[in-house]
């Protein structure tokens, strides 16, 4: 009986002390998409828990993360760290008061010391910092080096050179660009944004985004007509109808086995190219997407953003995690180990030296381009939501011959003007 009493007393003591221990640890929650990305990123992010034991990161895997997150946050719940697919989504959440302004944290924790200036500006909504951009992206012209070497081809610098090469490639029986949108219909927008920047010119895109020129400007009409001509020539995926049915695995396979010679895709593709080329024994490299004047322009995009939930009970702890996560050391480690597109922060040369030179060159070129006014704009980062959906949905009607390029651009112009007037345009870095 005495033993039972002692056990009971010990149990009570443990119960009484347990909450005291729990109160000392602050848990910061983050929701993250299930899958292979989390498998690699997760263990690195959880290393944060060893930095300061009083703050523990909890990663909750979620399917359809963004829709789940925004529903929960709108309902007054959700994780402490709110991740969105891009700055235009942040704008809506900030307007609704669902996420916190982070200017005080940025000053206190020195975010400006390691983020590029323009990158912090991307998170501004009405002058206040609401998000930190992650996963720097750009579009590249990938090419199969085996196919190029066998035919004595070199990557083109200008659109004219690209046109000449594409005709040669097609005549030799190759598919020019391994493409298809069956897995991800918004991939249409990659080309719209890229052609507008490379052919229309990034300065004209900037003017159109800031309302100085309409989208029906001659430069944009010309860019879209070239894209349409390339589509009609069957250069993308082997034909328009095939473009609409090729899925992600098909287009990667046809590029890796030499059925296709080139591929215009984002820097994210680097993560999976090795897997496909490993199977075929062929190899790849990349070049800047050709432009009208031969200048190497790089469109800039962000894969996602991070903010702090307005309902978070401990925003300070969440900010400390963000400081650690976006630090050049953590970003460098994720780039090296997972080939994750880094946040727009200064990565050390030591880290870059450990990378596959082709990958290191992407970020070195991007950094150089952004410093030297050679950057352009990806549609999913810089266009407002309605215009963005219009861009990738309606362009199919141009390619299927239902409407003309001018009809398409007039529609875009009308919609964009509405969003511009409503103040729905994400921050456009001044140039």
């Amino acid at each position: 009986m005495k033993g039972i009493k002692i056990l009971f007393a010990i149990a009570l003591l443990i119960l009484a002390l347990a909450p005291v221990g729990a109160q000392d640890v602050t848990t910061v929650s983050m929701w993250f998409g299930e899958g292979s990305t989390l498998d690699c990123w997760g263990p690195i992010m959880l290393e944060f828990n060893e930095v300061d034991p009083s703050i523990q990161l909890e990663i909750v895997p979620q399917a359809d993360t963004w829709n789940v997150t925004r529903t929960a946050v709108a309902g007054g719940g959700g994780p402490d760290i709110v991740r969105t697919p891009g700055p235009s989504f942040v704008y809506e959440m900030a307007q609704a008061g669902l996420i916190l302004p982070m200017d005080a944290f940025a000053d206190e924790m020195g975010w400006g010391d390691f983020f590029f200036d323009w990158a912090l500006d991307l998170g501004l909504v009405e002058g206040q910092l609401y998000s930190l951009s992650d996963e720097l992206e750009t579009l590249l012209l990938y090419y199969n080096t085996d196919v190029f070497e066998a035919n004595g081809w070199t990557p083109p610098d200008t659109i004219d050179e690209l046109n000449a090469l594409a005709e040669e490639v097609a005549a030799a029986g190759y598919i020019v660009f391994s493409h298809g949108n069956a897995s991800w219909r918004p991939s249409n927008e990659w080309f719209v944004g890229e052609y507008m920047t490379q052919i229309g010119g990034p300065h004209n895109v900037y003017k159109a985004l800031t309302g100085q020129i309409p989208w029906t400007d001659e430069s944009m009409v010309n860019a879209m007509e070239v894209l349409d001509a390339h589509m009609q020539a069957g250069w993308y995926g082997g034909g328009i109808d095939l473009y609409f049915t090729n899925d992600g695995a098909t287009r990667r396979s046809m590029f890796a086995d030499g059925t296709a010679a080139m591929n215009i895709e984002g820097s994210w593709a680097i993560r999976s190219l090795g897997e496909y080329f490993g199977e075929t024994g062929q190899d790849w490299d990349w070049a800047p997407v050709p432009s009208h004047d031969g200048t190497d322009y790089f469109t800039i995009g962000m894969g996602n953003t991070s903010s702090i939930n307005a309902n978070s009970p401990h925003p300070e702890a969440a900010a400390q995690f963000l400081t650690w996560y976006f630090s050049p050391a953590t970003q460098g480690k994720m780039l090296t180990n997972c080939r994750k597109g880094p946040a727009p922060v200064t990565i050390s040369e030591e880290v870059m030296g450990e990378l596959d030179p082709r990958i290191a060159r992407v970020y070195a070129e991007l950094s150089d381009a952004s410093a030297n006014d050679r950057y352009g704009y990806t549609t999913w980062t810089f266009w407002p939501p309605k215009s963005d959906v219009y861009i990738y949905e309606e362009v199919e009607r141009v390619w299927t011959g239902e409407i003309t390029v001018m009809d398409y651009l007039e529609g875009l112009n009308e919609l964009f003007a509405e969003e511009l007037a409503a103040g729905d345009i994400p921050p456009i870095p001044a140039r």
Binding site: M93, A96, I240, D241, L242, T245, E393, T400
Partner: protein, 316 residues
């Protein structure tokens, strides 16, 4: 004698003071309502309130994020019917979809059920085989058929190879505006018609065999048996399914979204996919809600037709 002359209570006060009336009220009114109350409260909470909220939201400019929703009256409906070309196109596709599903699967199911009803042994194997596609998840069905219809590695490509032809059958059925919608309808029907067949077969088995015997004695052939015995016998089930399929046609979403997402160029766009894009990609949740209300109105209209027919004596 006093009981016989007692006045029947007429006012509420008199009724409440009358013991017999009170007991009757508790037994016939109060207790049944108490029994149904939990379900009713739950229904009001999860169906009625969101439905009313949805109607209200359809008259606002709500973006789907946060709580800012300005009342704009019928503006969303005006835009929907008088400005939005894509909505008209999507509605047209819904009507094509409905016509397809009110004919093709019904004909297939009636034919198969009639054939299977004649089989005495081993019929269960056929029924199971024809019903299996119905239990497959839509994402599985779509993945199977996207591969089968793939112009480079699907059935068409294999046929071309076998027959020594090029591009005769290996066509991008889902990639062409003229064939995308019907290809998806074909896939959805592959999964759906077995369900109709089982329902019709069950209804056919409930028809008294004596009716078929009488028809045979009267000299009816197979077609006359089907026309004058089978069809009248299963008519309530067929007509009920007509109503349900017509309603479901306006809710079509998963097969279309998983296969073409409404493309190419909006060729397979229907109201539900358009609603989803407006609500979740374009931040036009109020406008999306208006589309949802329109779908409900169409469904209500279809139900009204059937209720009217029933009132007129149709055996539905």
């Amino acid at each position: 004698m006093a009981v016989l002359t007692q006045k029947k209570p007429t006012t509420i006060l008199e009724k409440l003071n009358d013991e017999t009336w009170r007991r009757k009220f508790i037994r016939n009114v109060l207790i049944p309502w108490l029994f149904i109350a939990p379900l009713l409260i739950l229904h009001i909470y999860v169906v009625t309130v969101p439905a009313v909220q949805g109607i209200y939201m359809s008259m606002t400019d709500w973006k789907g994020v946060g709580r800012n929703a300005n009342f704009i009256g019928l503006e969303n409906y005006r835009e929907l019917f008088f400005e939005d070309e894509t909505f008209g196109k999507a509605l047209g596709n819904n009507i094509i979809w409905m016509i397809f599903f009110l004919t093709v699967p019904f004909i297939l199911a009636l034919f198969a059920a009639t054939m299977l009803s004649q089989i005495k042994r081993g019929g269960m194997i056929y029924r199971s085989i024809l019903f299996i596609p119905y239990v497959l998840a839509s994402v599985v069905t779509i993945t199977i058929w996207k591969n089968l219809l793939n112009p480079q590695r699907g059935i068409g490509a294999a046929l071309d190879k076998m027959l020594g032809l090029e591009g005769a059958f290996g066509i991008a059925y889902l990639g062409r505006p003229e064939s995308a919608l019907m290809s998806i309808a074909f896939i959805d029907n592959w999964h759906f018609w077995g369900f109709l067949m089982i329902l019709f077969l069950a209804a056919m088995q409930a028809i008294p065999p004596v009716l078929y015997d009488a028809a045979k004695i009267d000299g009816a052939n197979r077609w006359q048996e089907f026309r004058h015995v089978t069809l009248p016998g299963i008519r309530p089930v067929v007509l009920f399914m007509f109503m349900m399929v017509a309603i479901w046609s306006f809710l079509a979403f998963d097969y279309i979204f998983l296969s073409t997402q409404g493309g190419p160029g909006g060729a397979s766009e229907v109201i539900a996919t358009l609603l989803y894009k407006n609500a979740f990609f374009r931040f036009e949740a109020g406008y999306g809600a208006a589309m949802g209300v329109v779908i409900s109105i169409f469904a209500g209209f279809i139900i009204m037709i059937f209720v009217t027919l029933r009132r007129r004596g149709w055996d539905i």
